[in-house]
């Protein structure tokens, strides 16, 4: 029989691992829109983590700021500028 505290720690570990995977994919993704969506997924796991760590007020502030407002601002920036991140050094070096 699993106790309640063990279940809490199990959910904490799961959110930690999911946020680690989402961060890794967001940093290595060259399509910037996919990167923003992955960072929003990572923020959602942090919201669950704040709730489990007994900080519900932080979770309430964090949902609109980090899942709503911030990806909207970055998507606005991507729409105005560039969609992809150029990863290789040769393309930049061959422009001279």
């Amino acid at each position: 029989m699993i106790e309640l505290s063990t279940l809490t720690y199990l959910f904490m570990a799961m959110t930690g691992v999911v946020s680690l995977v989402a961060t890794y994919l967001a940093i290595l993704e060259s399509n910037l829109i996919k990167a923003v969506v992955l960072s929003a997924i990572q923020s959602t796991t942090y919201v669950i983590l704040f709730y489990l760590l007994m900080a519900p007020d932080i979770a309430l502030v964090y949902i609109p700021v980090s899942v709503g407002l911030y990806p909207a601002a970055v998507l606005f920036l991507i729409k105005k500028t560039e969609r992809t991140e150029n990863d290789s050094n040769e393309v930049v070096a061959s422009e001279d």
Binding site: E3, L4, S5, T6, T8, Y9, L10, M12, A13, T15, G16, V17, S19, L20, T23, Y24, A26, I27, L32, A35, V36, S39, Q42, S43, Y46, L49, F50, L53, M54, A55, P56, D57, I58, V61, Y62, V65, S66, L69, Y70, A73, V74, F76, L77, I78, K80, T81, E82, E85, N86, D87, N89, V92, E95, D96
Partner: protein, 139 residues
């Protein structure tokens, strides 16, 4: 049996801590090594969020081997008696890191918006958001 459950709790909590520290490492790599300015902004927000979560964890009462389950730092009655206050002090998590993190989230939002419009201005002036191309410009 209790000791084994305690070891399991410690193991699960350590998974959380290690994944947060790996998040710090990955986002620092993103800030320093990725060429695109937009990717740098995304990595910076991930870094600041992870720092906030680590600050919240410092104030958490339920590190493994807790006697009682912790409660949020909220007093539910408007005129608390001394028994209420004693129960609150014994079980509530530390509210000071939460107040600091609440401020840090709002300030981080303002800084992020400033960086976003700075990047937009860089794109309007130079036609690129790649830091290698910006570094090659003369004059």
């Amino acid at each position: 049996m209790v000791r084994r459950m305690n070891e399991l709790n410690t193991f699960l909590f350590n998974i959380l801590l290690f994944s947060l520290f790996f998040n710090v490492g990955i986002s620092l790599y993103g800030i320093f090594a990725r060429p695109s300015l937009i990717k740098k902004i995304i990595a910076l927000t991930i870094f600041s969020d992870t720092a906030n979560v680590l600050a919240i964890i410092v104030g958490y009462r339920g590190w493994p081997s807790p006697e009682q389950p912790p409660i949020p730092p909220v007093i539910t009655s408007t005129e608390p008696t001394s028994e209420d206050l004693i129960r609150f002090i014994n079980r509530a998590v530390d509210p000071l890191p939460q107040a600091l993190v609440l401020t840090a989230i709002v300030i981080g939002l303002a800084v992020t918006l400033f960086l976003i419009f700075l990047t937009l201005q860089v794109y309007r002036l130079y036609g690129t958001t790649d830091v290698r191309r910006v570094a090659r410009l003369r004059g």
